[in-house]
Symmetry: C2
Subunit: 307 residues, 2 copies
Amino acid sequence: MRETVLVGVDWGTTNLRAYAFGADGSVRTKTHRPTGITRMSGPYGDLLEELCRELGAGADTPALLCGMVGSRQGWIEARYITTPCTLDGLVEGLVSAPHAPRHVLVVPGLDSQSGSAPDVMRGEETQLLGLMESIGAGERLVCMPGTHCKWVQLAGGRILDFRSYMTGEAFAALKDHTILGRQMSEGAAHDAAAFARGVAMAQEARGRGPGALLNLLFGVRTLGLFDRLGPEAAPSLMSGLMIGAEIADALGPQPPAEPVVIVGSAGLGARYRYAAEALGVPTVVADEDIATRGLWAIARAAGLASG
Amino acid sequence: MRETVLVGVDWGTTNLRAYAFGADGSVRTKTHRPTGITRMSGPYGDLLEELCRELGAGADTPALLCGMVGSRQGWIEARYITTPCTLDGLVEGLVSAPHAPRHVLVVPGLDSQSGSAPDVMRGEETQLLGLMESIGAGERLVCMPGTHCKWVQLAGGRILDFRSYMTGEAFAALKDHTILGRQMSEGAAHDAAAFARGVAMAQEARGRGPGALLNLLFGVRTLGLFDRLGPEAAPSLMSGLMIGAEIADALGPQPPAEPVVIVGSAGLGARYRYAAEALGVPTVVADEDIATRGLWAIARAAGLASG
Protein backbone atom coordinates (compact mmCIF):
# COMPACT_ATOMS: atom_id res chain seq x y z
CA MET A 1 0.00 0.00 0.00
CA ARG A 2 1.34 3.45 -0.95
CA GLU A 3 1.60 5.57 2.14
CA THR A 4 1.52 9.37 2.60
CA VAL A 5 4.98 10.31 3.85
CA LEU A 6 4.57 14.10 3.88
CA VAL A 7 1.85 16.73 3.97
CA GLY A 8 2.90 19.92 2.21
CA VAL A 9 0.91 23.17 2.50
CA ASP A 10 1.28 26.34 0.46
CA TRP A 11 -0.41 28.66 2.97
CA GLY A 12 -0.88 32.16 1.59
CA THR A 13 -2.59 35.40 2.57
CA THR A 14 -6.07 34.49 1.39
CA ASN A 15 -5.99 30.80 0.45
CA LEU A 16 -4.17 27.56 1.14
CA ARG A 17 -3.42 24.44 -0.89
CA ALA A 18 -2.49 21.18 0.83
CA TYR A 19 -0.89 18.08 -0.72
CA ALA A 20 -0.28 14.48 0.37
CA PHE A 21 3.03 13.18 -0.97
CA GLY A 22 3.84 9.51 -1.57
CA ALA A 23 7.29 8.05 -0.94
CA ASP A 24 8.29 8.73 -4.58
CA GLY A 25 7.52 12.45 -4.22
CA SER A 26 4.36 12.29 -6.28
CA VAL A 27 1.21 14.06 -5.08
CA ARG A 28 -1.32 11.37 -4.10
CA THR A 29 -4.16 13.71 -3.24
CA LYS A 30 -4.72 17.40 -2.56
CA THR A 31 -7.22 19.85 -1.10
CA HIS A 32 -7.65 23.58 -0.59
CA ARG A 33 -9.34 26.09 1.72
CA PRO A 34 -10.22 29.80 1.50
CA THR A 35 -8.52 30.26 4.88
CA GLY A 36 -5.30 32.13 4.24
CA ILE A 37 -3.61 33.72 7.25
CA THR A 38 -5.83 36.82 7.13
CA ARG A 39 -8.96 34.64 7.31
CA MET A 40 -8.07 32.31 10.17
CA SER A 41 -10.67 31.97 12.94
CA GLY A 42 -9.13 29.16 15.03
CA PRO A 43 -5.69 27.71 15.88
CA TYR A 44 -3.42 26.81 12.97
CA GLY A 45 -2.80 23.34 14.45
CA ASP A 46 -6.50 22.47 14.41
CA LEU A 47 -6.91 23.39 10.76
CA LEU A 48 -3.74 21.49 9.84
CA GLU A 49 -5.08 18.35 11.55
CA GLU A 50 -8.33 18.72 9.62
CA LEU A 51 -6.36 18.94 6.35
CA CYS A 52 -4.29 15.88 7.30
CA ARG A 53 -7.42 13.86 8.04
CA GLU A 54 -8.95 14.85 4.71
CA LEU A 55 -5.71 13.91 2.91
CA GLY A 56 -5.58 10.56 4.71
CA ALA A 57 -2.24 11.28 6.42
CA GLY A 58 -1.35 9.29 9.54
CA ALA A 59 -0.70 10.93 12.92
CA ASP A 60 3.08 10.54 12.46
CA THR A 61 3.27 12.10 9.01
CA PRO A 62 5.31 15.31 9.13
CA ALA A 63 4.09 18.54 7.54
CA LEU A 64 6.02 21.23 5.67
CA LEU A 65 4.41 24.66 5.28
CA CYS A 66 5.46 27.54 3.04
CA GLY A 67 4.07 31.01 2.31
CA MET A 68 2.69 33.75 4.54
CA VAL A 69 2.05 31.21 7.31
CA GLY A 70 5.73 31.86 8.15
CA SER A 71 5.34 35.65 8.38
CA ARG A 72 5.06 37.71 11.54
CA GLN A 73 1.28 37.64 11.07
CA GLY A 74 1.18 33.83 10.53
CA TRP A 75 1.60 30.77 12.74
CA ILE A 76 5.26 31.26 13.57
CA GLU A 77 7.73 33.71 12.07
CA ALA A 78 10.39 32.06 9.92
CA ARG A 79 12.86 34.86 9.30
CA TYR A 80 14.03 35.90 5.86
CA ILE A 81 17.21 34.36 4.44
CA THR A 82 19.29 36.87 2.47
CA THR A 83 20.09 36.15 -1.19
CA PRO A 84 22.13 34.65 -2.76
CA CYS A 85 20.65 31.49 -1.30
CA THR A 86 20.81 27.75 -1.98
CA LEU A 87 18.46 24.93 -1.09
CA ASP A 88 20.69 24.13 1.88
CA GLY A 89 20.54 27.74 3.10
CA LEU A 90 16.78 27.62 3.02
CA VAL A 91 16.72 24.32 4.90
CA GLU A 92 18.88 25.83 7.64
CA GLY A 93 16.23 28.50 8.09
CA LEU A 94 13.35 26.07 8.66
CA VAL A 95 11.53 26.57 11.97
CA SER A 96 9.30 24.22 13.97
CA ALA A 97 5.72 25.26 14.60
CA PRO A 98 4.94 25.38 18.33
CA HIS A 99 2.29 23.23 20.04
CA ALA A 100 1.65 21.22 16.88
CA PRO A 101 0.18 17.72 17.29
CA ARG A 102 2.71 16.45 14.73
CA HIS A 103 6.16 17.46 13.41
CA VAL A 104 5.60 20.71 11.48
CA LEU A 105 8.32 22.75 9.77
CA VAL A 106 7.84 26.17 8.21
CA VAL A 107 9.88 27.43 5.23
CA PRO A 108 11.56 30.86 5.66
CA GLY A 109 11.14 33.70 3.16
CA LEU A 110 13.94 35.36 1.22
CA ASP A 111 15.16 38.92 1.28
CA SER A 112 17.40 40.88 -1.06
CA GLN A 113 19.58 43.71 0.23
CA SER A 114 21.08 44.74 -3.12
CA GLY A 115 18.86 47.77 -3.86
CA SER A 116 18.20 51.12 -2.18
CA ALA A 117 15.53 49.32 -0.13
CA PRO A 118 15.28 45.65 0.89
CA ASP A 119 13.04 43.28 -1.04
CA VAL A 120 11.17 40.22 0.21
CA MET A 121 9.37 37.09 -0.94
CA ARG A 122 7.52 34.36 0.91
CA GLY A 123 6.19 31.28 -0.87
CA GLU A 124 7.88 32.00 -4.18
CA GLU A 125 11.21 30.61 -2.87
CA THR A 126 9.57 27.19 -2.67
CA GLN A 127 8.33 27.45 -6.26
CA LEU A 128 11.82 28.49 -7.34
CA LEU A 129 13.36 25.41 -5.72
CA GLY A 130 10.83 23.31 -7.60
CA LEU A 131 11.79 25.06 -10.81
CA MET A 132 15.49 24.45 -10.14
CA GLU A 133 14.76 20.71 -9.94
CA SER A 134 14.30 20.81 -13.71
CA ILE A 135 16.76 23.51 -14.83
CA GLY A 136 19.60 22.46 -12.48
CA ALA A 137 22.51 24.89 -12.41
CA GLY A 138 21.31 26.82 -15.48
CA GLU A 139 21.12 30.61 -15.58
CA ARG A 140 17.56 31.87 -15.82
CA LEU A 141 15.50 35.01 -15.35
CA VAL A 142 12.14 34.06 -13.80
CA CYS A 143 9.00 36.20 -13.84
CA MET A 144 6.36 35.39 -11.21
CA PRO A 145 3.27 37.53 -11.95
CA GLY A 146 0.88 38.42 -9.13
CA THR A 147 -0.26 41.36 -7.02
CA HIS A 148 3.43 41.97 -6.37
CA CYS A 149 5.25 40.45 -9.34
CA LYS A 150 8.70 39.00 -8.63
CA TRP A 151 11.62 38.90 -11.08
CA VAL A 152 14.26 36.43 -9.99
CA GLN A 153 17.75 35.58 -11.21
CA LEU A 154 18.75 31.92 -10.86
CA ALA A 155 22.24 30.57 -11.56
CA GLY A 156 24.49 27.77 -10.33
CA GLY A 157 21.68 26.21 -8.32
CA ARG A 158 21.26 29.42 -6.34
CA ILE A 159 18.61 32.10 -6.07
CA LEU A 160 20.95 35.00 -6.83
CA ASP A 161 18.74 38.06 -6.43
CA PHE A 162 15.23 39.34 -7.09
CA ARG A 163 13.01 42.40 -7.36
CA SER A 164 9.32 42.97 -6.66
CA TYR A 165 7.04 45.24 -8.69
CA MET A 166 3.71 46.23 -7.19
CA THR A 167 2.19 46.54 -10.67
CA GLY A 168 -0.96 44.53 -9.99
CA GLU A 169 -1.88 46.34 -6.81
CA ALA A 170 -0.98 49.77 -8.23
CA PHE A 171 -3.07 49.07 -11.32
CA ALA A 172 -6.12 48.30 -9.19
CA ALA A 173 -5.65 51.37 -6.97
CA LEU A 174 -5.18 53.72 -9.94
CA LYS A 175 -8.09 52.22 -11.85
CA ASP A 176 -10.52 52.33 -8.93
CA HIS A 177 -9.41 55.55 -7.20
CA THR A 178 -8.18 58.10 -9.76
CA ILE A 179 -9.62 59.98 -12.72
CA LEU A 180 -8.27 57.19 -14.97
CA GLY A 181 -11.01 54.77 -13.95
CA ARG A 182 -13.82 57.26 -14.58
CA GLN A 183 -13.62 56.74 -18.31
CA MET A 184 -13.25 52.97 -18.18
CA SER A 185 -16.05 50.45 -18.67
CA GLU A 186 -16.64 48.21 -15.67
CA GLY A 187 -15.75 44.60 -16.37
CA ALA A 188 -14.45 45.24 -19.88
CA ALA A 189 -12.97 42.15 -21.58
CA HIS A 190 -9.24 42.00 -22.29
CA ASP A 191 -8.52 43.97 -25.49
CA ALA A 192 -5.37 42.52 -27.06
CA ALA A 193 -4.82 45.46 -29.45
CA ALA A 194 -5.12 48.08 -26.66
CA PHE A 195 -2.81 46.01 -24.44
CA ALA A 196 -0.23 45.87 -27.25
CA ARG A 197 -0.56 49.63 -27.71
CA GLY A 198 0.19 50.15 -24.01
CA VAL A 199 3.25 47.91 -24.23
CA ALA A 200 4.44 49.95 -27.24
CA MET A 201 3.97 53.22 -25.29
CA ALA A 202 6.12 51.78 -22.49
CA GLN A 203 8.73 50.64 -25.00
CA GLU A 204 8.88 54.11 -26.57
CA ALA A 205 9.58 55.65 -23.13
CA ARG A 206 12.27 53.10 -22.28
CA GLY A 207 15.04 55.70 -22.13
CA ARG A 208 13.17 57.86 -19.63
CA GLY A 209 13.39 57.64 -15.83
CA PRO A 210 11.03 56.12 -13.23
CA GLY A 211 8.94 59.31 -13.05
CA ALA A 212 7.93 58.97 -16.70
CA LEU A 213 5.32 56.43 -15.58
CA LEU A 214 3.35 59.21 -13.84
CA ASN A 215 3.27 61.13 -17.12
CA LEU A 216 2.48 58.10 -19.32
CA LEU A 217 -0.46 57.14 -17.09
CA PHE A 218 -2.02 60.58 -17.66
CA GLY A 219 -2.07 59.63 -21.35
CA VAL A 220 -4.71 56.98 -20.58
CA ARG A 221 -7.00 59.87 -19.67
CA THR A 222 -6.10 62.20 -22.53
CA LEU A 223 -6.38 59.53 -25.23
CA GLY A 224 -9.97 59.11 -24.06
CA LEU A 225 -10.52 62.87 -24.01
CA PHE A 226 -9.52 63.07 -27.68
CA ASP A 227 -11.66 60.04 -28.59
CA ARG A 228 -8.60 58.00 -29.44
CA LEU A 229 -9.33 55.35 -26.81
CA GLY A 230 -12.73 53.85 -25.96
CA PRO A 231 -13.87 53.07 -22.40
CA GLU A 232 -13.83 49.33 -23.20
CA ALA A 233 -10.18 49.44 -24.31
CA ALA A 234 -8.80 51.80 -21.65
CA PRO A 235 -8.15 49.18 -18.90
CA SER A 236 -6.19 46.97 -21.32
CA LEU A 237 -4.10 49.90 -22.55
CA MET A 238 -3.25 50.84 -18.99
CA SER A 239 -2.42 47.22 -18.15
CA GLY A 240 -0.12 46.99 -21.20
CA LEU A 241 1.54 50.26 -20.27
CA MET A 242 2.27 49.21 -16.69
CA ILE A 243 3.25 45.59 -17.40
CA GLY A 244 5.33 46.71 -20.40
CA ALA A 245 7.15 49.29 -18.27
CA GLU A 246 7.75 46.72 -15.54
CA ILE A 247 9.16 44.14 -17.96
CA ALA A 248 11.42 46.66 -19.70
CA ASP A 249 12.90 47.66 -16.33
CA ALA A 250 13.20 44.07 -15.09
CA LEU A 251 14.99 42.94 -18.25
CA GLY A 252 17.49 45.78 -18.03
CA PRO A 253 19.62 46.91 -20.95
CA GLN A 254 20.98 43.43 -21.76
CA PRO A 255 18.38 40.81 -22.79
CA PRO A 256 18.89 37.45 -21.03
CA ALA A 257 20.62 34.63 -22.94
CA GLU A 258 17.89 32.09 -22.13
CA PRO A 259 14.14 32.55 -22.48
CA VAL A 260 12.46 34.18 -19.48
CA VAL A 261 10.59 31.58 -17.41
CA ILE A 262 7.04 32.71 -16.63
CA VAL A 263 5.47 31.10 -13.57
CA GLY A 264 1.71 30.96 -14.16
CA SER A 265 0.29 30.43 -17.62
CA ALA A 266 -3.31 31.54 -17.34
CA GLY A 267 -4.65 35.12 -17.37
CA LEU A 268 -1.99 37.38 -15.95
CA GLY A 269 0.83 35.03 -16.96
CA ALA A 270 -0.35 35.16 -20.56
CA ARG A 271 -0.25 38.98 -20.51
CA TYR A 272 3.30 38.98 -19.20
CA ARG A 273 4.25 36.41 -21.80
CA TYR A 274 2.75 38.47 -24.62
CA ALA A 275 4.38 41.71 -23.41
CA ALA A 276 7.83 40.14 -22.98
CA GLU A 277 7.72 38.68 -26.47
CA ALA A 278 6.52 42.03 -27.88
CA LEU A 279 9.67 43.51 -26.30
CA GLY A 280 11.73 40.94 -28.18
CA VAL A 281 12.35 38.48 -25.34
CA PRO A 282 11.36 34.81 -25.74
CA THR A 283 9.55 33.12 -22.87
CA VAL A 284 8.73 29.65 -21.62
CA VAL A 285 6.02 28.76 -19.11
CA ALA A 286 7.01 26.79 -16.00
CA ASP A 287 5.26 23.52 -15.22
CA GLU A 288 2.23 23.93 -12.99
CA ASP A 289 3.52 21.65 -10.23
CA ILE A 290 6.68 23.55 -9.25
CA ALA A 291 5.26 24.48 -5.81
CA THR A 292 4.78 20.81 -4.90
CA ARG A 293 8.19 19.88 -6.35
CA GLY A 294 9.72 22.64 -4.25
CA LEU A 295 8.01 21.39 -1.08
CA TRP A 296 9.28 17.89 -1.81
CA ALA A 297 12.84 19.11 -2.53
CA ILE A 298 12.96 21.01 0.77
CA ALA A 299 11.44 18.12 2.74
CA ARG A 300 14.02 15.69 1.35
CA ALA A 301 16.94 18.03 1.95
CA ALA A 302 15.69 18.54 5.51
CA GLY A 303 15.44 14.80 6.11
CA LEU A 304 11.72 15.28 6.72
CA ALA A 305 10.68 12.73 4.10
CA SER A 306 13.21 10.03 3.44
CA GLY A 307 11.26 8.91 0.37
CA MET B 1 -14.01 107.42 -9.30
CA ARG B 2 -12.10 104.23 -10.20
CA GLU B 3 -14.44 101.94 -12.08
CA THR B 4 -14.42 98.15 -12.48
CA VAL B 5 -13.72 97.54 -16.18
CA LEU B 6 -13.48 93.72 -16.11
CA VAL B 7 -14.56 90.80 -13.97
CA GLY B 8 -12.15 87.89 -14.20
CA VAL B 9 -12.95 84.41 -12.85
CA ASP B 10 -10.61 81.48 -12.38
CA TRP B 11 -13.30 78.78 -12.31
CA GLY B 12 -11.93 75.37 -11.45
CA THR B 13 -13.21 71.89 -10.67
CA THR B 14 -13.95 72.45 -6.98
CA ASN B 15 -13.55 76.20 -6.36
CA LEU B 16 -13.66 79.57 -8.06
CA ARG B 17 -11.92 82.90 -7.49
CA ALA B 18 -13.37 86.11 -8.94
CA TYR B 19 -11.62 89.48 -9.36
CA ALA B 20 -12.73 93.04 -10.18
CA PHE B 21 -10.13 94.84 -12.32
CA GLY B 22 -9.65 98.59 -12.47
CA ALA B 23 -8.71 100.39 -15.69
CA ASP B 24 -5.01 100.10 -14.82
CA GLY B 25 -5.22 96.31 -14.58
CA SER B 26 -4.99 96.22 -10.82
CA VAL B 27 -7.34 94.03 -8.79
CA ARG B 28 -9.72 96.31 -6.89
CA THR B 29 -11.54 93.59 -5.00
CA LYS B 30 -11.96 89.83 -5.07
CA THR B 31 -14.13 86.99 -3.80
CA HIS B 32 -14.34 83.21 -3.93
CA ARG B 33 -16.84 80.37 -3.77
CA PRO B 34 -16.61 76.61 -3.14
CA THR B 35 -18.67 76.10 -6.30
CA GLY B 36 -16.34 74.68 -8.92
CA ILE B 37 -17.96 73.09 -11.96
CA THR B 38 -18.55 69.77 -10.18
CA ARG B 39 -20.48 71.55 -7.41
CA MET B 40 -22.82 73.76 -9.42
CA SER B 41 -26.50 73.58 -8.50
CA GLY B 42 -27.93 76.40 -10.66
CA PRO B 43 -27.20 78.15 -13.99
CA TYR B 44 -23.68 79.53 -14.48
CA GLY B 45 -25.11 82.92 -15.52
CA ASP B 46 -26.96 83.36 -12.23
CA LEU B 47 -23.87 82.66 -10.14
CA LEU B 48 -21.76 84.98 -12.30
CA GLU B 49 -24.29 87.82 -11.76
CA GLU B 50 -24.12 87.20 -8.01
CA LEU B 51 -20.32 87.45 -8.14
CA CYS B 52 -20.51 90.67 -10.20
CA ARG B 53 -22.90 92.25 -7.72
CA GLU B 54 -20.64 91.31 -4.84
CA LEU B 55 -17.62 92.75 -6.69
CA GLY B 56 -19.53 95.98 -7.46
CA ALA B 57 -19.32 95.53 -11.24
CA GLY B 58 -21.84 97.36 -13.43
CA ALA B 59 -24.25 95.58 -15.75
CA ASP B 60 -22.10 96.42 -18.79
CA THR B 61 -18.81 95.17 -17.34
CA PRO B 62 -17.53 92.24 -19.40
CA ALA B 63 -16.34 89.00 -17.78
CA LEU B 64 -13.48 86.72 -18.71
CA LEU B 65 -13.49 83.16 -17.35
CA CYS B 66 -10.71 80.59 -17.37
CA GLY B 67 -10.32 77.05 -16.04
CA MET B 68 -12.58 74.00 -16.12
CA VAL B 69 -15.61 76.24 -16.74
CA GLY B 70 -14.49 75.99 -20.40
CA SER B 71 -14.42 72.17 -20.44
CA ARG B 72 -17.05 69.85 -21.88
CA GLN B 73 -18.48 69.52 -18.36
CA GLY B 74 -18.50 73.29 -17.75
CA TRP B 75 -20.60 76.23 -18.99
CA ILE B 76 -19.49 76.11 -22.61
CA GLU B 77 -16.70 74.10 -24.19
CA ALA B 78 -13.76 76.22 -25.33
CA ARG B 79 -11.68 73.78 -27.38
CA TYR B 80 -8.02 73.14 -26.75
CA ILE B 81 -5.44 75.15 -28.72
CA THR B 82 -2.42 73.05 -29.74
CA THR B 83 1.05 74.10 -28.57
CA PRO B 84 3.22 75.93 -29.44
CA CYS B 85 0.86 78.79 -28.69
CA THR B 86 1.09 82.58 -28.25
CA LEU B 87 -1.17 85.03 -26.45
CA ASP B 88 -2.79 85.86 -29.80
CA GLY B 89 -3.45 82.20 -30.51
CA LEU B 90 -5.21 81.87 -27.19
CA VAL B 91 -7.29 84.99 -27.83
CA GLU B 92 -8.44 83.56 -31.16
CA GLY B 93 -9.78 80.56 -29.25
CA LEU B 94 -11.96 82.59 -26.88
CA VAL B 95 -15.66 81.63 -26.95
CA SER B 96 -18.75 83.55 -25.84
CA ALA B 97 -20.89 82.05 -23.10
CA PRO B 98 -24.50 81.57 -24.26
CA HIS B 99 -27.53 83.25 -22.66
CA ALA B 100 -25.33 85.40 -20.43
CA PRO B 101 -26.80 88.64 -19.10
CA ARG B 102 -23.50 90.38 -19.97
CA HIS B 103 -20.58 89.90 -22.37
CA VAL B 104 -18.79 86.76 -21.16
CA LEU B 105 -15.75 85.21 -22.82
CA VAL B 106 -14.22 81.86 -21.89
CA VAL B 107 -10.50 81.07 -22.27
CA PRO B 108 -9.63 77.87 -24.17
CA GLY B 109 -7.33 75.18 -22.79
CA LEU B 110 -4.10 74.00 -24.38
CA ASP B 111 -3.14 70.62 -25.70
CA SER B 112 0.20 69.10 -26.62
CA GLN B 113 0.47 66.45 -29.34
CA SER B 114 4.21 65.85 -29.10
CA GLY B 115 4.14 62.64 -27.00
CA SER B 116 2.77 59.13 -27.49
CA ALA B 117 -0.51 60.44 -26.05
CA PRO B 118 -1.95 63.98 -26.09
CA ASP B 119 -1.63 66.21 -23.03
CA VAL B 120 -3.97 68.93 -21.81
CA MET B 121 -4.21 71.90 -19.46
CA ARG B 122 -7.05 74.25 -18.57
CA GLY B 123 -6.50 77.26 -16.34
CA GLU B 124 -2.71 76.98 -16.22
CA GLU B 125 -2.41 78.64 -19.67
CA THR B 126 -3.79 81.85 -18.10
CA GLN B 127 -1.25 81.69 -15.27
CA LEU B 128 1.49 81.14 -17.85
CA LEU B 129 0.47 84.27 -19.78
CA GLY B 130 0.61 86.19 -16.52
CA LEU B 131 4.08 84.79 -15.87
CA MET B 132 5.21 85.80 -19.37
CA GLU B 133 4.22 89.39 -18.60
CA SER B 134 7.28 89.49 -16.36
CA ILE B 135 9.75 87.20 -18.13
CA GLY B 136 8.98 88.39 -21.66
CA ALA B 137 10.60 86.33 -24.40
CA GLY B 138 12.92 84.50 -21.99
CA GLU B 139 13.39 80.75 -22.00
CA ARG B 140 12.03 79.07 -18.88
CA LEU B 141 11.01 75.68 -17.54
CA VAL B 142 7.94 76.11 -15.33
CA CYS B 143 6.70 73.63 -12.73
CA MET B 144 3.06 73.93 -11.68
CA PRO B 145 2.44 71.51 -8.79
CA GLY B 146 -1.06 70.14 -8.18
CA THR B 147 -3.10 66.95 -8.42
CA HIS B 148 -1.79 66.73 -11.97
CA CYS B 149 1.48 68.66 -11.97
CA LYS B 150 2.36 70.47 -15.24
CA TRP B 151 5.89 71.07 -16.54
CA VAL B 152 5.93 73.76 -19.20
CA GLN B 153 8.56 75.10 -21.59
CA LEU B 154 8.30 78.81 -22.36
CA ALA B 155 10.43 80.60 -24.95
CA GLY B 156 10.11 83.55 -27.33
CA GLY B 157 6.81 84.65 -25.78
CA ARG B 158 5.29 81.28 -26.59
CA ILE B 159 4.09 78.28 -24.60
CA LEU B 160 6.23 75.75 -26.46
CA ASP B 161 5.18 72.42 -24.97
CA PHE B 162 4.21 70.78 -21.68
CA ARG B 163 3.74 67.51 -19.84
CA SER B 164 1.41 66.46 -17.00
CA TYR B 165 2.34 64.08 -14.18
CA MET B 166 -0.45 62.59 -12.09
CA THR B 167 1.87 62.35 -9.09
CA GLY B 168 -0.49 63.92 -6.55
CA GLU B 169 -3.47 61.80 -7.44
CA ALA B 170 -1.41 58.60 -7.77
CA PHE B 171 0.19 59.28 -4.37
CA ALA B 172 -3.24 59.51 -2.72
CA ALA B 173 -4.56 56.37 -4.44
CA LEU B 174 -1.47 54.31 -3.56
CA LYS B 175 -1.42 55.58 0.01
CA ASP B 176 -5.10 54.98 0.68
CA HIS B 177 -5.69 51.81 -1.35
CA THR B 178 -2.59 49.61 -1.33
CA ILE B 179 -0.49 47.78 1.23
CA LEU B 180 1.80 50.86 1.38
CA GLY B 181 -0.70 52.86 3.40
CA ARG B 182 -1.23 50.11 5.97
CA GLN B 183 2.05 50.90 7.68
CA MET B 184 1.68 54.68 7.55
CA SER B 185 0.45 56.88 10.37
CA GLU B 186 -2.71 58.80 9.55
CA GLY B 187 -2.11 62.53 9.35
CA ALA B 188 1.65 62.31 9.94
CA ALA B 189 3.46 65.66 9.73
CA HIS B 190 5.89 66.30 6.86
CA ASP B 191 9.23 64.66 7.65
CA ALA B 192 11.96 66.55 5.81
CA ALA B 193 14.65 63.89 6.31
CA ALA B 194 12.40 61.08 5.03
CA PHE B 195 11.34 63.24 2.07
CA ALA B 196 15.01 63.87 1.23
CA ARG B 197 15.70 60.15 1.48
CA GLY B 198 12.90 59.46 -1.03
CA VAL B 199 14.32 62.05 -3.43
CA ALA B 200 17.73 60.37 -3.12
CA MET B 201 16.20 56.96 -3.91
CA ALA B 202 14.65 58.45 -7.04
CA GLN B 203 17.95 60.06 -8.00
CA GLU B 204 19.78 56.75 -7.59
CA ALA B 205 17.33 55.08 -9.98
CA ARG B 206 17.57 57.84 -12.58
CA GLY B 207 19.09 55.58 -15.23
CA ARG B 208 16.28 53.04 -14.98
CA GLY B 209 13.05 53.03 -17.02
CA PRO B 210 9.48 54.08 -16.14
CA GLY B 211 8.68 50.67 -14.66
CA ALA B 212 11.33 51.13 -11.96
CA LEU B 213 8.80 53.25 -10.06
CA LEU B 214 6.66 50.15 -9.41
CA ASN B 215 9.70 48.48 -7.86
CA LEU B 216 10.86 51.53 -5.87
CA LEU B 217 7.40 51.98 -4.35
CA PHE B 218 7.55 48.44 -2.96
CA GLY B 219 10.61 49.62 -1.03
CA VAL B 220 8.36 51.88 1.06
CA ARG B 221 6.80 48.68 2.41
CA THR B 222 9.99 46.67 2.85
CA LEU B 223 11.88 49.48 4.62
CA GLY B 224 9.07 49.40 7.17
CA LEU B 225 9.21 45.59 7.38
CA PHE B 226 12.89 45.76 8.31
CA ASP B 227 12.29 48.57 10.84
CA ARG B 228 14.29 51.01 8.72
CA LEU B 229 11.34 53.38 8.23
CA GLY B 230 8.78 54.40 10.85
CA PRO B 231 5.05 54.78 10.17
CA GLU B 232 5.33 58.56 10.78
CA ALA B 233 8.06 58.95 8.15
CA ALA B 234 6.69 56.60 5.48
CA PRO B 235 4.32 59.08 3.74
CA SER B 236 7.10 61.66 3.39
CA LEU B 237 9.53 59.10 1.99
CA MET B 238 6.95 58.03 -0.58
CA SER B 239 6.22 61.66 -1.45
CA GLY B 240 9.93 62.36 -1.94
CA LEU B 241 10.32 59.25 -4.06
CA MET B 242 7.44 60.13 -6.36
CA ILE B 243 8.11 63.88 -6.63
CA GLY B 244 11.84 63.23 -7.03
CA ALA B 245 11.18 60.73 -9.83
CA GLU B 246 8.80 63.18 -11.52
CA ILE B 247 11.28 66.06 -11.38
CA ALA B 248 14.17 63.94 -12.66
CA ASP B 249 12.08 62.90 -15.67
CA ALA B 250 10.74 66.40 -16.29
CA LEU B 251 14.20 67.96 -16.23
CA GLY B 252 15.54 65.42 -18.70
CA PRO B 253 19.26 64.75 -19.20
CA GLN B 254 20.19 68.43 -19.74
CA PRO B 255 19.54 70.79 -16.79
CA PRO B 256 17.84 74.05 -17.85
CA ALA B 257 19.99 77.19 -18.22
CA GLU B 258 17.69 79.33 -16.07
CA PRO B 259 16.23 78.45 -12.66
CA VAL B 260 13.01 76.43 -12.81
CA VAL B 261 10.00 78.64 -12.04
CA ILE B 262 7.76 77.05 -9.41
CA VAL B 263 4.15 78.23 -9.45
CA GLY B 264 2.83 77.99 -5.89
CA SER B 265 5.09 78.57 -2.92
CA ALA B 266 3.22 77.01 -0.01
CA GLY B 267 3.02 73.33 0.92
CA LEU B 268 3.34 71.30 -2.24
CA GLY B 269 5.32 74.02 -4.02
CA ALA B 270 7.88 74.01 -1.24
CA ARG B 271 8.33 70.25 -1.61
CA TYR B 272 8.92 70.57 -5.34
CA ARG B 273 11.33 73.40 -4.71
CA TYR B 274 13.29 71.38 -2.18
CA ALA B 275 13.41 68.27 -4.39
CA ALA B 276 14.53 70.21 -7.48
CA GLU B 277 17.34 71.88 -5.56
CA ALA B 278 18.36 68.51 -4.08
CA LEU B 279 18.68 67.32 -7.68
CA GLY B 280 21.01 70.26 -8.38
CA VAL B 281 18.55 72.56 -10.14
CA PRO B 282 17.99 76.10 -8.82
CA THR B 283 14.42 77.37 -8.56
CA VAL B 284 12.52 80.62 -8.21
CA VAL B 285 8.94 81.01 -7.04
CA ALA B 286 6.50 82.87 -9.30
CA ASP B 287 4.58 85.85 -7.94
CA GLU B 288 1.25 84.93 -6.44
CA ASP B 289 -0.82 87.14 -8.76
CA ILE B 290 0.08 85.56 -12.09
CA ALA B 291 -3.47 84.25 -12.63
CA THR B 292 -4.93 87.75 -12.42
CA ARG B 293 -2.16 89.17 -14.58
CA GLY B 294 -2.92 86.48 -17.15
CA LEU B 295 -6.63 87.27 -17.13
CA TRP B 296 -5.82 90.95 -17.64
CA ALA B 297 -3.33 90.23 -20.45
CA ILE B 298 -5.90 88.11 -22.30
CA ALA B 299 -8.68 90.65 -21.77
CA ARG B 300 -6.54 93.47 -23.16
CA ALA B 301 -5.37 91.45 -26.16
CA ALA B 302 -9.01 90.54 -26.86
CA GLY B 303 -10.11 94.18 -26.68
CA LEU B 304 -12.36 93.21 -23.80
CA ALA B 305 -10.89 95.79 -21.43
CA SER B 306 -9.42 98.82 -23.16
CA GLY B 307 -7.79 99.97 -19.93
